[in-house]
Symmetry: C2
Subunit: 436 residues, 2 copies
């Protein structure tokens, strides 16, 4: 089949059955097992299946990720079992281990520093900046008033537009200005609200500017929220006496070693990226389980880590007055209303399990899971290494791949209890077993 035959017009307009038929004909040699594999993951209840299909375009089936909980999270005096969605083995185990470790020391102390979010109208301006300033100053109250129908509801809930400011960025790009908006969106992530406000506002600007100068002075390039929200941030800490930690772990110099490991991540980008990846392993699992957008959260977190010279870690360790303190500062723009949260039955169940938190409480929980994950990863690294824990799950995966029966798996597990598992060594052991 030539390449051109694989081009298709109007794919999105086809029915699901037609889409699958086209795909298997052009990319799967009409293999009926492929169709079967897609259908195997459909829901038997057509209505539920349709609900899931309608979230996006061109849906053929449902991709499954394990849905789990990590119990024993003591956050600001309240105990949570936190729903987590991830494909990576040992993440939920590490979160649960971190939660239990810090439970005895009073758990996680988290607070939201702010929930202010940013949005911008980006434009090129070719006339006198004073004229522009004048235009912005005079029209801002006017446009605010015009936006009432859009902002009234949000204001009722305690949110809205906090400020509008003209920023001169001509030193970065000729003629570049932004109108920089700060928003409070309370319990929603706020993407639709913010983008609607910005697009309406730019329409008003285009309409009104000709009263001030030639229309071509003002070239509005785009109007959109920012995923960089350094102010919209939560800070979470755990702490314990150095002596107690050494007694608990049975390791002399444990707290000092943890502090050194955290310091290394602070100064070395190669370590910082992996250190932060560990934090996000935990955070994203809760973001997914609650129907939030993990790309937005990832972008915000890593950009915050890279906002100054060079890239650094999001969490720090301190040794103060005989205590080890671990602190994570995490920008986090998430919602508890809107988006997928209320629409996906399991995202909704996650909110129920968490006791229907508002956005701030959800931020506290997510950041706590991030710090627990971070702690557990670094703890493993500075003590036994991470491979031992990973390998237990890794062995499980190897056994699955080699189609080991439950009986065989139990015997192999015993053999590898104190040995590192590799595909070849497990295969060898399994073959030996099967020959018996």
């Amino acid at each position: 089949m030539s390449g051109q035959e694989k081009f298709v017009e109007g794919f999105s307009k086809k029915s699901k059955a037609e889409k699958i038929r086209w795909l298997t004909a052009h990319y799967l040699n009409n293999d009926s097992r492929a169709v079967e594999r897609l259908m195997r993951y459909w829901h038997t209840d057509k209505e539920i299946q349709e609900r899931h299909e309608n979230f996006i375009e061109n849906t053929l089936s449902n991709y499954w990720l394990p849905y789990a909980v990590a119990p024993n999270f003591l956050v600001n005096g309240r105990v949570y079992a936190v729903p987590m969605v991830t494909e990576e083995s040992s993440v939920v185990a590490a979160a649960a281990k971190g939660a239990k470790f810090w439970y005895r020391y009073g758990g996680f102390h988290a607070r939201v520093l702010s929930t202010v979010k940013y949005g911008h109208i980006h434009f090129i301006y070719k006339n006198d900046p004073e004229k522009l300033k004048n235009f912005v100053d005079e029209t801002t109250p006017l446009f605010m008033e015009r936006l009432r129908p859009f902002t009234a509801n949000m204001e009722k809930r305690g949110g809205g537009i906090l400020s509008v400011e003209l920023e001169d960025l001509r030193h970065k790009l000729p003629g570049y200005f932004t109108l920089t908006f700060r928003f409070e969106t309370v319990d929603s992530m706020g993407a639709n609200f913010i983008n609607t406000i910005l697009e309406e506002w730019s329409d008003y600007m285009r309409e009104k500017y000709p009263d001030y100068g030639p229309a071509e002075d003002l070239d509005i390039v785009m109007s959109i929220l920012s995923n960089h929200n350094p102010e919209c941030r939560v800070r979470v800490e755990v702490e314990a006496p150095v002596e107690d930690l050494e007694r608990q772990t049975g390791l002399e110099g444990y707290a000092a070693k943890m502090k050194t490991a955290f310091d290394m991540a602070r100064v070395n980008p190669f370590r910082a990226v992996t250190h932060n990846k560990g934090i996000m392993n935990g955070v994203d699992a809760v973001v997914l389980a609650t129907g939030n957008d993990f790309r937005a959260v990832e972008a915000g977190a890593h950009a915050y880590a890279g906002k100054d010279e060079g890239y650094t870690s999001l969490s720090r360790a301190f040794l103060e007055n005989g205590r080890l303190v671990l602190r994570l500062d995490l920008p986090l723009a998430v919602g508890t209303v809107g988006g997928m949260t209320g629409l996906h039955p399991l995202a909704d169940l996650s909110m129920e399990i968490l006791g229907r938190p508002d956005a701030r409480r959800l931020m506290n929980i997510m950041a706590s899971v991030g710090l627990a994950q971070n702690f557990s990863a670094v703890h493993s690294l500075v003590t036994e290494g991470i491979q031992k824990g990973h390998m237990k799950m890794h062995l499980q995966n190897i056994l699955m791949r080699l189609d080991a029966t439950p009986g065989e798996a139990a015997q192999i597990r015993k053999i590898f209890e104190n040995r590192k598992a590799h595909v070849h060594s497990v295969k060898e052991a399994l073959e030996k077993l099967r020959k018996k």
Copy 2:
């Protein structure tokens, strides 16, 4: 119920049924509908269900994300229908739109610049650096030899340890050195391989160092791969004559406006983060669909964007010889063997749909989807704004939330064809409709 009763010992050891019983008793008021909701997402085939449960710990159910394809991706002369997994509406539509737009201009031209990955042994050294250098130089060939059982297989596939180098980081932290390894892991992401090598090597160092000086000179803090892999990178480009683009879009100055929009992202971090988030919307959807680790990919991409002074965009636009060129440089550490790819039936199907690519070809495809997504997002922003497209899907979600029947939905869709949809306005329209 007091907080203490919500603490649990040995949760991971409970059976799935016991875990669910405990959870509903302590967090869901024994609500049988919650249990039902979890069970509703189990597979009817026990064996398939168990396979999915065993990927991680404490699994209670499966979290569903829509599995879709975006057709018409012409990458290096071959046409793909790309499997995508995402919860965000309009992402798959935007990818498909971008693919189709560039198809007529020869599609995406992608090449892998390198697949070198990093790993480090991080340690504090308290003796003469010359002695350390001597130790490393003398033991490196020895340890390489000892590692043969671990590296032989990888070398057969064309990979292995490329280099080992001592790095002095004492200017950043007292006594801080790393032993920096560069690896080639061919078609596997390589996490287990790299971490095993590093942990073995540090065991050898601990064992051998006493021949050179007092054991306490050498404090190995941790040994682990890095998710910062600036060399492991793919570059993808699309290009077309400016005239053709203006004719196709019907917009005078279209190419110049696109270039300005890309330039704004280059110089303004608030825009860069969102610009890159758009890229990752596409990349992550393919990462998920192929069973790869999106936290690793996210960390690597954003850290690369933030590696120098300030955070910048991953893609650039150029106007050269009457042509618009869009270029994305994306660090990407992914695998086509190992991990979840072969274990998750739908991840495996994704690989089949893509024609069983090796890691390099998969990197090319992922980066192409990233650039397509990026293009479509910026295109929408500089033309109609993003809300119009979003709102179509947003309306769908609002209708779902308001339990509109298919008949009602069709009528509402007609009403909002040229109007922005908001929960309150849709609700109003729906109520009016129902009163009739």
